[in-house]
């Protein structure tokens, strides 16, 4: 077999190129299942959205649910907590963006942009610093200076709209995609 370098692919080379190309395409199609199998299974995806009954949550109370493996905070705010959140100027916020999956990415972090109904706050309970679960502040057991949440891992403090006010966390607590199916039922995810 000669090893002369030909400037133009000959008919023989075309066959080799065609075979190699078909084999490569086949290899790519064959590789895909091995990559895709690591994606969430249909059983995991079936739990990707949950429906929560909020009818038994009292005013001033937070209930923690589990959503996509994370804690989900559902907090029924008192009118004092709502007023406090509304009184904060945007310029005082460390993170001025709403972080609400139901709104565009650049929506500002006003209190109105953090929920659908002022009474109901739905937040992903994962501190945006390094992932710990923040503790809720109640009048009986205040946590942090802003009446919202305190993360005990490194001291991040969130206000009554779940926005970061002090400490190392860079972002407000995230609002997941959700909707009210009825006044007492929300669907998350």
């Amino acid at each position: 077999m000669t090893t002369a370098t030909e400037p133009e692919p000959t008919r023989r080379d075309f066959l080799y190129i065609a075979t190699g190309a078909v084999a490569a395409v086949g290899g790519a199609f064959a590789a895909w299942p091995f990559l895709d199998q690591m994606n969430p299974t249909s059983a995991v995806l079936a739990l990707a959205s949950i429906e929560i009954d909020i009818s038994s949550i009292q005013v001033g109370q937070q209930v923690v649910f589990k959503w996509r493996g994370h804690p989900l905070f559902v907090r029924r705010r008192t009118s004092k907590e709502i007023a406090e959140a509304r009184a904060v100027a945007l310029s005082d916020l460390i993170d001025p963006v709403a972080r609400n999956a139901n709104l565009p990415d650049d929506a500002p972090a006003t209190d109105a942009n953090r929920e659908y109904k002022p009474e109901w706050l739905v937040l992903i309970g994962v501190c945006t610093h390094l992932g710990c679960t923040p503790t809720v502040s109640t009048p009986q057991a205040p946590q942090g200076d802003y009446g919202g949440w305190l993360c005990h891992c490194h001291g991040s403090q969130y206000d009554t709209a779940g926005r970061i006010r002090k400490g190392p966390a860079p972002q407000n607590l995230a609002v997941p995609p959700y909707s009210f199916l009825s006044p007492t039922k929300i669907k998350v995810g």
Binding site: T19, V22, A46, L47
Partner: protein
């Protein structure tokens, strides 16, 4: 004289051939299915009717533990919409975890339940094996999720069993107490009473619910339960074989070209 002798011999040999070996079941019925063969697919109507038969008849005793409600809406299956599958799920009661007081039963001692969601699997009719046996004369109705893979003959076996009742046992065959004669079942004594009669269910698509129809449809449904990926497997298989034929052809030409001067 010769004729009489042959007639007698024939009669004796025929007579002895009629004595069945009842330790061996009948061969399964020769039934054919739309999903057999390399390009077979499931009949959506049969799957939905079969699901109805399972739900209204079989699920009283037989669990379907490995199938989830979300599978009912998956491609290659009965073809329910997600909303329909959700509604089916919500119709079932799933054992719920402890309530806020830590209780797992209500005031009457019954386990707390919640409506099913898509992520749930079909709940079993009995809480454990012992309860299942106690309700069925000591016999355990097997889970049906993989039944057609677990029995030689698959769908034809299930069809033969559910349509195989009502036959007269051969003379001398002892039907055990509490059991039924079914020649397609190993040992021919089956604990399951005949599950299907004409019009056991009323099909929502109006198909006439003869025993054969019900049996055919539930066997199709159970085939899907055992092999939900059959249609995807067949489809991918055709694509793969076509590709491999092309690749093999190109590799053959390459091989011949490379070896042209050396043979």
């Amino acid at each position: 004289m010769k004729i009489a002798f042959f007639a007698l011999a024939l009669g004796i040999s025929l007579g002895s051939a009629a004595a069945e070996d009842t330790s061996v079941p009948y061969p399964i019925k020769d039934v054919h299915w739309g999903f057999e063969g390399p390009i077979g697919t499931y009949d959506r109507g049969a799957l939905q009717r079969g699901f109805q038969v399972y739900k209204e008849v079989c699920s009283a005793c037989h669990s379907l533990n490995l199938v989830g409600f979300h599978d009912l809406a998956a491609p290659g299956g009965p073809g329910f919409s997600e909303a329909q599958a959700k509604a089916i799920a919500a119709g079932y009661k799933i054992i719920a975890g402890p309530n806020d007081k830590g209780e797992t039963t209500d005031a009457n001692g019954n386990p707390l339940t919640r409506p099913g969601i898509l992520a749930d699997h079909f709940p079993p009719p009995f809480p454990n094996e012992e309860a299942a046996r106690a309700s069925n004369g000591g016999a355990l109705p097997p889970d049906l999720s993989l039944i057609e893979k677990a029995r030689a003959g698959g769908a034809a076996y299930v069809y033969s069993i559910v349509t195989g009742f009502g036959q007269e046992p051969p003379p001398g065959f002892k039907v055990q107490q509490g059991k039924y004669y079914n020649p397609y079942f190993a040992g021919r004594n089956i604990s399951m009473p005949p599950p299907l009669t004409a019009d056991s269910v009323t099909f929502s698509d109006g198909t006439k619910a003869s025993v054969e129809q019900e049996a055919h449809d539930v066997a199709t449904f159970l085939a899907w339960a055992s092999e939900p990926k059959l249609e995807e497997r067949h489809r991918t298989g055709l694509e793969v074989m076509a590709f491999l034929a092309l690749l093999a052809g190109l590799l053959f030409l390459t091989y011949r070209k490379v070896w042209k001067d050396e043979h």
